[in-house]
């Protein structure tokens, strides 16, 4: 089967999926930092992270499906999960396959989160930081029309957002004081606040 529709669908779902994945990573770092999005309670940020992630996975199914079905290029069914098995641009497609494999693990472990040890889930979930660059490099190497214009701008924008948020999240993780010191700091801040009359900030548990 070939046709312009398959090719358009493939490109559209690929780029949309990358944008949604970026959004998932950004929302994930907000969840990680116990942050808030104006107008949304914390549990809604968590829900948004989950649902945007699931949506990007759903689009990815279409992306992979159209690539396999389209007989214009030689991408076999085996390339869905076996990396570097494609006849067409084996390296670029192989990166995409690796990203799909990781995504399946991340989604499956998150759906089973209540039944898995927390550490296992966390270890698998952290591979998202590897998943995103794989998908990104797959996009810019396998993509056929990145020559310039708005598509390149979108891709670079995604890269900037994901990198910025990841660095901020990892940095904030190091900045969290150990539990024993949090109580003492909160006590000092609360006393100072009452004496000077300034409102006291919120201390983050961790």
């Amino acid at each position: 089967m070939t046709g312009a529709l398959l090719w358009y669908l493939n490109r559209a779902t690929g780029i949309t999926s990358l944008v949604l994945m970026t959004l998932t990573v950004v929302l994930g770092t907000v969840v990680r930092r116990h942050g808030r999005i104006p107008g949304l309670p914390r549990f809604a940020v968590q829900g948004l992270h989950r649902n945007v992630g699931l949506l990007s996975a759903l689009l990815l199914v279409t992306h992979v499906g159209t690539a396999v079905v389209d007989s214009y290029v030689d991408i076999g069914v085996s390339s869905t999960f076996v990396p570097f098995a494609s006849g067409y641009r084996p390296f670029a497609i192989g990166l995409g396959t690796l990203a799909v494999d990781l995504l399946v693990l991340v989604v499956a472990s998150s759906l089973l989160r209540n039944r898995l040890p927390l550490r296992l889930w966390k270890a698998v979930h952290l591979t998202s930081y590897l998943l995103w660059p794989l998908a990104f490099v797959h996009g810019i190497t396998a993509g056929t029309d990145l020559g310039g214009g708005w598509l390149l701008a979108v891709v670079l924008g995604c890269a900037a957002a994901a990198t910025w948020c990841s660095i901020a999240a990892l940095g904030a993780r190091r900045a969290t004081p150990p539990p024993a010191e949090r109580a003492a700091a909160a006590l000092t801040a609360a006393s100072d606040a009452l004496v000077t009359g300034t409102p006291v900030g919120v201390f983050r548990n961790g």
């Binding site: 150990p178 539990p179 024993a180 949090r182 109580a183 909160a186 006590l187 609360a190 006393s191 548990n205």
Partner: protein
């Protein structure tokens, strides 16, 4: 200096602390060898309750750990908890000095009846060398591992203690799964207070009245001198018979996780679960403190709450953010000057936001203490608003680590 003895008052029987000393030979001569008994049935019949503070039925605990061990086919771990994080209490330390072999007997009994993999005893560092020597005298089938505990208020909480025994920071964990199912190293774990174990050792020897009394740390002032002692008190005693209440304005029942009660209402209270329930109090870890009339109850409570706020594990938002604010507000209320308007209302509002929202019950207990203080010392609050204070002493009556006594 405070006096610390195992004094017995007129109404108090000598029991647990009527010890022959810390030698094993003396212990055997006084109590006889440990018989082979059905511990679960005996604990059930004696209706023994835990003496660590919560007062949970010991037989139920034994049964659930045995069931969890059988279900998971893993040998359980037993832990003797002598950490006594409560600064007002001294009964665990007193018991471990006066009758260490009763505690070790209890630990050996429980370990044998559950088929435990390991037995641990956790207490303050200073006690460990004496305990090691006493352990060496005995020939228990299961070796007991001794652990020092950090002197923090929460290090005796059972999940925090299990974390410490695994070599992790002593911080409370979530209630689920409970330590009786997954405790030390993921094994079903039975954590019992050292006094509970000593009472089990007496019950096993046929002393059925052992479960009917409780070790109590008394704090009072006699002729202007601070007095602290530990007594073996029959449950159901009249409070007025246990503490001298002349010149006393209020009694703190249950320690820093406890409740203030006016001296007038306190005298005729029966000291057991049923007798204290009407005033919303419980014996907790067995601390009774009689606050003299020339002390400021609000200032005493403020110091204690300041200490408790600093002892938050910093894990749960409501506790980490709520307790320091309540402590800071109480500190202002404790001064003989009009407080900022609305402060009392703020304290009450914050207090309502805390209970039931922590992994452990630290915030719940602290809020209860604050609520009882604001109620019992309402006259004192009114005096403070008028710029006066009943307190005549700069040093605190209730001991608070890090504050001069």
């Amino acid at each position: 200096m405070t006096a610390m003895t195992a004094m017995t008052g007129p109404c108090l029987v000598r029991g647990l602390l009527d010890a022959p000393g810390s030698s094993y030979a003396g212990h055997l001569a006084a109590h006889g060898p440990l018989p082979d008994v059905d511990l679960h049935r005996l604990a059930e019949e004696a209706a023994l309750t835990g003496r660590g503070g919560a007062g949970f039925p010991t037989a139920a605990k034994l049964r659930s750990v045995a069931a969890a061990a059988a279900a998971g086919r893993r040998a359980p771990v037993v832990v003797a908890n002598g950490s006594e994080g409560e600064p007002g209490a001294a009964k665990d330390a007193t018991l471990l000095v006066l009758a260490p072999h009763l505690v070790l007997d209890g630990l050996a009994l429980v370990a044998a009846s559950l088929g435990a993999a390991t037995a641990h005893l956790a207490t303050e560092q200073a006690m460990l060398s004496a305990l090691a020597a006493q352990l060496a005298e005995r020939r228990d089938p299961i070796g007991v591992r001794l652990h020092p505990v950090a002197g923090a208020f929460l290090s005796g909480e059972e999940s925090a203690l299990c974390a410490a025994l695994e070599g992790k920071p002593p911080l409370p964990r979530t209630k689920f799964p409970p330590v009786r199912e997954r405790g030390v190293d993921g094994r079903p774990t039975l954590v019992l207070n050292v006094e509970t174990l000593a009472r089990l050792a007496l019950i096993a020897r046929g002393n059925h009245r052992a479960a009917a009394s409780m070790l109590v740390t008394r704090r009072m002032e006699i002729a202007g001198t601070p007095w602290v002692d530990v007594v073996d008190m029959p449950l159901g005693s009249r409070l007025g018979d246990v503490l001298r209440l002349d010149g006393v304005q209020a009694v703190l029942i249950g320690g820093y996780a406890g409740t203030w009660v006016e001296a007038g209402r306190a005298a005729d209270l029966r000291l057991d679960r049923g007798g204290l329930a009407p005033v919303g109090a419980a014996l907790g870890a067995g601390v009774l403190a009689a606050l003299p009339a020339d002390r400021c109850g609000i200032a005493e409570t403020a110091r204690v709450v300041g200490y408790l706020a600093g002892q938050s594990a910093g894990q749960c938002g409501p506790c980490l953010n709520g307790l320091p604010r309540i402590a800071a507000a109480l500190d202002l209320l404790a001064r003989p000057a009009p407080p900022p308007s609305g402060l009392l209302r703020d304290v009450q509002r914050w207090s309502g936001l805390l209970p039931g929202r922590g992994a452990c019950s630290h915030p719940d207990a602290t809020v209860r203490l604050v609520a009882s203080a604001l109620h019992v010392f309402s006259d004192e609050l009114a005096r403070h608003r008028a710029g006066r204070c009943a307190g005549r002493f700069a040093v605190s009556f209730l001991p608070v680590p890090g504050v001069r006594r």
